[in-house]
């Protein structure tokens, strides 16, 4: 029991800096979360909030100009049961290659761009199989690999999979490409799937289908998932837990139901108000006022205070608000709750 409940991934104080012409810029700051096997964490935030960067750090696929700050910790439990500190790996470590694709797989926003145009779908899928003999039960022959890939294509709902195997990405429709991308990511049965806005580029009906499919496959394969999105409606549909990010920091996190029903942080509340709700009738949508500032001009104190309707002058612009537990696992970083919750 305790082994199953133990976290698959524990992230603590993850901080990522980028080197720019004007010096170091902090894209992700002191991010922390736990992820248990079989659970889905939704990462929400506007563009530039550091959602993608923090997940890319998990497979160490950051641009050359990025640096994971010392003190960051990402502990991942491998299939073998062994614990691995991802932040401590050297970029050339061979274990990193086993991690990528074998333990943690990625789905990208633009399946067209994430597939190379000059190799067939099947070729790129088999590549993942050949790269991870440890994850797929030994070295496969070409015929075996093809069989598994075709099976996987069929599993994600692609009709005529044997034909699609030999086709190039541009010969598939957008929805089919995203299904193929999912098939590619899951073919090695990873323990963790990171989905970076996988439905953003799709139209709404396809979006719902893909979300259903991902949820189904997550349950079937028993893997954990980190789902990045800027869409609160998607979170409601797919996530068990949610973490709301703003300017590289997690401002609120907790069980998805709880956070969506009783959002505490003014930013989370603002995001939810910006969402259309059928039961609210003709209520006007309220956009979050202002723009997300550049990480270069990070405001002092609470990063959200310049846009916050409830800001307390003299407090919010001075120091970072403490993280307060306001419910079972529901945490919020805001001074409004500092008194009642205590810490």
């Amino acid at each position: 029991m305790s082994a199953a409940a133990a976290a698959l991934l524990r992230v603590r104080d993850l901080t990522v800096d980028f080197r720019t012409d004007e010096g170091w810029v902090r894209a992700v700051e002191e991010v922390g979360f736990d992820l248990r096997p079989g659970r889905t964490l939704g990462l929400v935030g506007e563009s530039g909030s550091g959602k993608s960067v923090s997940t890319r750090a998990l497979v160490r696929l950051l641009p050359a100009s990025a640096r994971i700050a010392p003190g960051s910790s990402m502990r991942f439990r491998l299939r073998s049961g062994e614990e691995m500190e991802i932040a401590a790996l050297s970029p050339r470590d061979r274990r990193l290659r086993r991690l990528r694709g074998g333990e943690i797989a990625l789905i990208f926003q633009e399946p067209m761009a994430a597939f190379s145009p000059v190799y067939t779908i099947g070729h790129q899928m088999c590549e993942a199989l050949f790269a991870h003999p440890e994850a797929v039960g030994g070295r496969l022959s070409r015929a075996e690999a093809r069989e598994r890939a075709v099976e996987m294509l069929a599993r994600v709902g692609i009709a005529n999979p044997a034909l699609r195997f030999d086709q190039y990405p541009f010969e598939l429709s957008g929805g089919m490409r995203q299904r193929a991308m999912i098939a590619l990511a899951l073919i090695t049965r990873p323990q963790l799937l990171i989905a970076d806005e996988p439905t953003t580029a799709l139209d709404v009906t396809l979006q719902a289908q893909i979300l259903d499919l991902m949820q189904e496959l997550r349950a079937e394969f028993g893997m954990a998932m980190i789902f990045i999105t800027h869409d609160m409606a998607v979170i409601a549909q797919i996530a068990d837990e949610v973490a709301v990010m703003y300017l590289g920091r997690i401002v609120e996190s907790g069980p998805a139901r709880e956070v969506l029903r009783r959002p505490k942080h003014p930013y989370t509340q603002a995001l939810l108000r910006a969402l259309p709700r059928p039961e609210a009738g003709r209520r006007r949508l309220v956009p979050v006022p202002g723009d997300i500032p550049s990480p270069r001009e990070r405001p002092a104190g609470c990063p959200f205070h310049p846009r916050c309707a409830h800001r307390l002058p003299g407090r919010c612009d001075r120091a970072l608000p403490p993280v307060v537990e306001v419910g079972d696992g529901h945490r919020v970083a805001c001074v409004l709750f500092a008194e009642e919750g205590g810490r």
Partner: protein, 331 residues
Amino acid sequence: MLRFILQRAIGMVVTMFFVSIMVFVIMELPPGDYADRYAFRKFSGTGVVVTEEDIESIRKQFGLDRPAWERYLTWIWGIVTRFDFGPSFAFETSVTDVIGERVGLTLVLLVATLLLTYLLSIPIGIYAAVRRQSLADYGLTVVSYLGLAIPNFMLALILLYIGVTYFDTTVGGLFSPEFEKAPWSWAKFRDLLAHLFVPAVVLAWSATALQLQTVRATMSDELHKPYVDAARARGLGEAKVILKYPARLAINPVVSTIGFDINRIFSELPIVALVLGLPELGELLLRSFLDLDMYVAGAILLMLTFVIVFMNFVSDIVLALLDPRIRLEGG
């Protein structure tokens, strides 16, 4: 794919047809014809008075009195059926004899130059892009701009000087004196390769500099595309990721400009050949224009364009093999 090749082949034939007409028009363009020239050369200074009739009979003798379309057809027919490019008036023999060995040597030089260009520019360009903004990258950029800036005749002179002073090679030519008239043998071939090296380096110099920049630029673009990260995310090793994914696309622009490279090499050839004393076609082309020896000029122009058109055909096919988007959508 077969249909694609067939289409391109037909396109090539059609292009060559129009090119041959243009070449023929160019041959007809200069004022006067070889009959005037011939009469002038043969009789000037001899005191013989040349009349209109004399020139007319010379014209008849060379078949220059026929209408243009008839001469064109005879010319083309000879080339296509017998590989006969017509007579060379100045040398009083057939064009094929005059051009003969020079064609082979020019082609060998062209191929050697192209190989050298691609063997150098592709790997170095890829390396420079991957190590972008490193010392190696900046160094290569400087060298390649030097490559574009140094005139090739100067480079030829420098290499000749170095060759003669330090390596004791014979100056110029494609063969050492002892092999000049010798029949083909392994030793002669090796001698040719040794002599080809300097002209090939000189000719490849600027083409390499240019293509290196092209490869580097394309590679830099491709390196940051999501599919590269996606390949890394599958757990592939870095070398495999680079060579299999972005590098594969980075050579496309090189392949598609083979024709331009040939053209540039051929334009530079006469000057380099002059400095290095090479028997090649460019210099002959210049001389034949001066002599109004139009069948020789026509043959050279036709062959040059044929090589370019043919290499474009080859590059189309190679591109289609490299990139399925062309193969499957272009047809």
